[in-house]
Structure formats: C-alpha cells, structure tokens
C-alpha cells in the first residue's frame, strides 16, 4: 500500500504534460548519471582553465620537500618540493587529452573498419581475423611492446592505446551493421537498387551511432586507466610531463613517509574514470536498451 501511495504522490508532482523534457525530472530520475556528468564537467573545467590559475608544476624547492597537505600546499609537496596540487591540476589535462583523443581516433577507425566488415564479406574475413589476434594480446602489453621500440612521447602513447581499443569498436559497429542488413526494409532497398553509399548514410550509420557513443565512453575511461598505468610503469608519457601516472610513479619510493603524493592523484584518477563510466552507463541505458539488459 505504501508503495502505491508513493507512486501516486510521484505522479501528482510530475509536471504536465509529462512528455516535455525537464532537467529537474531528468536529474531526479538519474542521480548517478547527473553525478557523473557534473563531476566530468568540473574536471574538464579544471583541465581547461586550471593551469592558468595555479603555479608552476616544475618549480623545485628542496627546502619544502615532502611537506604534508596544509593551507600552503593543499595536497602537500613531493620529494623535490614541487606542489602536488599544481601538478595534479596539470595531470587532469594529460588524462583528459589522452582519454578523449583515444576515444575519438578509435571511434573513427573502428567505425570505418566496422562498416567495411559489415558490408564486404571478403574484408570481413581478413579484418576480423586480425582483430581477434589483436584482442588476444592484453592491451597494456601491446602498448608496452610498441613503446619499447619508439622514443617516448604523448603521441606514441596515444597510438599505443588506440591499437588495442579499436577491435572493441569494430565488433560493436560490425554487429549493428549485420543486424541492420538483415532487416527486411534494408533487403528491399538493396533489391530495389539503392546505392551502397546512400544506404550507409541514410540507414546504417545513424543506427550505429548510439552503441558507438556508448562504447566510446568506455574506451575513454579505459584509455585514461591505461595511460596512468603505463606512466606508472615508466613506459608512458615522458617523465617530465606531470601526468597522474607519473606523479604516482615518482612518489613510490617515498610512499611510506609521504602517501599523499600517491593517494591524491590516485583518487583523482579513480574519480575521473568513475565519472566517465557513470556517464557511459547512463547513456547506455538511454541509447542502447539492448545492451543495457545484458549488463
């Protein structure tokens, strides 16, 4: 009985007509997605304008080494006396650049390859074999192998993360294309002589967008994790770049006396990944109910 009362109460304070989009309702219905979106916007703001407000992330001050968090150094200082707060703000920039760039590049590549696979049987056989092989290699190892053979740099890190992420997108896009191709309306369009390009533009690509966006969100989260892991292992962006992974790696030797050099950037990394994942879950529930049922 209590439940039905609650439901009628809910029904009464819903705005009328209920079809119109209301931000307040959307927020109340999806508190976790809202949380993720707000958090991510904040982090993007920090990454975009933060560096102009904080000091110099490279400024060494041996007098102030390993100071705990205080009013002067919000997040403490590292073994060179550098301000961890300043470095963490710069680190947000690195993480988000890597996450967003990897997501964008792998989506573009994955979409192209996925469409090709879904359309041309012969391409499909070869490309999917290669994708299976690439997916058999754990992504961090694949990135590591590539980095062993090149000079360190942000660009090579991005490439090294893109390669293992592409197959995930290809599989999603290909599955959508194959299921759409089997639809009667597409078969009749083909039979009616509609050109391939037109078919792709009008029917296929729009249908792949929703799952593509959802998958891209997860790729973004995973790319940020891999970048941090690679930097932590010493195989990521060059040591002098203040990325979260690098800050943590440099704090390792002093962890027992200065845990803040690891825990604070670590918490930021976890929060950022959490925000992107929550957003992805929300998008998935909204855009891709088929997938939502599976997870």
């Amino acid at each position: 009985m209590a439940r039905s009362q609650r439901m009628t109460a809910l029904a009464e304070d819903l705005p009328l007509p209920p079809r119109r989009f209301s931000l307040a309702t959307a927020i109340r219905r999806n508190p976790t997605v809202t949380f993720g979106a707000v958090l991510l916007l904040l982090l993007i703001a920090v990454a975009a304008i933060g560096p102009s407000f904080v000091g110099d992330p490279f400024k060494i001050a041996p007098v102030n080494r390993l100071r705990p968090p205080s009013e002067r150094w919000w997040f403490g200082t590292d073994q060179f006396g550098r301000d961890v707060f300043t470095r963490t703000v710069y680190g947000a920039r690195v993480s988000l650049i890597v996450g967003l760039t990897v997501a964008a590049i792998s989506s573009a590549l994955g979409l192209a390859l996925g469409l090709a696979c879904g359309y041309f049987r012969r391409v499909d056989g070869i490309v999917m074999r290669i994708m299976d092989g690439v997916m058999a290699i754990p992504s961090i190892l694949l990135a590591i192998a590539l980095i062993t053979l090149t000079r360190p740099g942000l660009a090579i890190v991005i490439v090294a993360i893109v390669i293992p992420e592409v197959p995930r997108i290809v599989r999603v896009v290909r599955a959508v294309v194959l299921s759409i191709r089997a639809q009667p309306y597409i078969e009749s369009a083909i039979a009616g002589g509609t050109r391939n390009a037109r078919l792709l533009g009008r029917h296929v690509v729009p249908n792949t967008l929703a799952p593509l966006i959802v998958q891209a969100t997860y790729v973004c989260a995973s790319a940020m994790l891999i970048e941090a892991s690679l930097s932590f292992l010493g195989a990521g962006v060059p040591l002098e770049v203040p990325s979260w992974g690098n800050i943590i790696a440099q704090g390792r030797s002093f962890f027992q006396i200065a845990p803040w050099t690891i825990l604070i950037p670590g918490a930021f990394l976890a929060l950022t990944v959490l925000a992107v994942n929550l957003l992805g879950d929300g998008l998935r529930d909204r855009l891709d109910p088929r997938l939502a049922r599976r997870l």
């Binding site: 009985m1 439940r3 039905s4 439901m7 009628t8 029904a11």
Partner: protein, 328 residues
Amino acid sequence: MSAILEVRDLATQFDTLDGVVRAVDGVSFDLARGETLGIVGESGCGKSVTALSILRLIPPETGRICGGSIRFAGEELTTLPEEAMKRLRGHRISMIFQEPMTSLNPVLTVGTQIAENVVRHTGASKKAARERACEMLDLVRIADPRRRLDEYPHQLSGGMRQRVMIAMALSCDPQVLIADEPTTALDVTIQAQILDLMVDLKEKTGTAIVLITHDLGVIAETAQRVVVMYAGRKVEEAPVEALFDDPQHPYTRGLMRAIPRLDVDVEEGGRRPRLQEIPGLVPRLTQPIVGCAFAPRCELATGRCRATAPPVVDIGGGHTVACWETVR
C-alpha cells in the same frame, strides 16, 4: 458436496506505471473434490491472476492479494506462512502453464524436473523419484519413457512438453490441479489429445481441476461447472449444460455468439451466419469501476447498471448471475 477449495471475495492488485490495476476484484467460487471447474473470459479478465493468487505466486515486487480468503481443505491460504505454502505447491495443489515451450527449464533433463518434485514433497530417494518420473511419463502416454527421462525440453515437441508438464504436476498426487490455458499454445489436433488425456487422468486420479481458458469449446468438452469472468469480476456461474443452454449474462451470450459453429444450418447462398463480436473494449482496470463493468458494452444497459454493481443472484440449479436486466 464438500468443497476442497473455497475462494471468497478474492481481490488482487498490481502496481503499474499507470497506477494500481485491480486485476481480480471480489471473485468467489467453490471447487468440489474431483470436479472440473472451468474459468472462462477474455485475456486480461483476471483468470490467470486468480490462478496465481491461489498458489500465492503473484510477484511480490509488483502485486499482492489485498482481500478475500482462499480456503484449501479447510486451511486458510492467504495467511499461511511461506514455508508451509511451499510444501503445498506442487504437492497438494499443482499448476500447469500456457507455454510448454518456455515453462520447462531448458538446461535440466525432463527426468530431473519431474523427479525433483517427488524428492521435495515425498522425501523419496533420487532413484525412487526417477522411477516415479518414468511411471508418470508412461501415464501421460509418452512412448519410450525411460529414454525420454534423459532428454532436454528442446528435444521434445510442444505437445510432449505439455505432457511432461502434466506428468510433473500430477507426480505427487495433488488434490487440485490448476491448468492455465493448457492447450492454447498447441496445434488443434494436439489440443484435443491433451484435453482427452486430462479428462482421462482426472477419472483415474480423482484430482479436482481448475481449467482456465478463453475457449468455450474447451470448457464444453471438459468442465462440469463454469465461472465466467469479466474485468476482474465473476459475472456468471452455472453447471456447464445450463450455461450453454440458457446463458443469462449479456457478456456470456456475447461470448456464445462469437463461437464459430458447425451445427448451424448453412443459410441460403451457402454462407454461414456471421460471427458476432462484442462491441467496445475491455475497461481499464486502473480506475475503480462504478456499476456493472460490462455496462459500457452492453446493449441492455440502463442507468441503474451504470450506477450500481448488480448483486450475484441465484436463479436455481446452482446457476448464479450478476445482471440487473436479465434476472428479474
């Protein structure tokens, strides 16, 4: 005649996004030992919910029995603790469902699914339960039962799966069998076989049956007594002959006119009389219904019908009906 099952003023509700649905709204009937009672009505009239309510299988997240009483062999089921209810289900009251395709577990063998019921309720050993399962498959006339025991549902035809469901339901000699549209999903020829089997088994075992269906033809072949439901309420109840010979409620009469008949003379020009449909739609159950639920679709409806629900009146011979206009 002592009733094994007495249902009084049963009311069951569901929460939906559109509000509370009164799926069953004050239904009463008795089931005598060894009797077959048909419950008939259109889809959505509450007949399946009535069946699930008796076994208390209404999903607790969305629905609940909110009134009335169900007495089985003198015991009140609506307040029985869940553990006692579990000992009853599949043992003294069992149920078979409409979809033989999806009602059997696809990853367990037929033998396991029958035998586990026997083990659960009789405490028999696994080996004895398997023997019993084999016996039951034989009883429902499945050829080569010993081999079938080790098969999975996907290896059986629809009719065979429904036989397995019946074997499972009867494996512990229940006093009541509730059959919810047991033949609806089957081919016509298979339907007849399954109905024959049920009638036959009832003779042998003496199990009382509640047969739920939308098909008056099925009722005519199997039931002794019929309850007609509309919009969650009982509108008429009668022995089967009385109902077919002299239907009282306008809704029952409408249902009769909607049955295709082979025994009516072909009219001139070689055409059978047109089947008549009942005009209008089943009312939404989210609003309380004032007056007779059928009034909006009834050609006899008056102001009184729309204002006050008609009481159930006994017109003799166990024939009761809820209508202001046909019962004077």
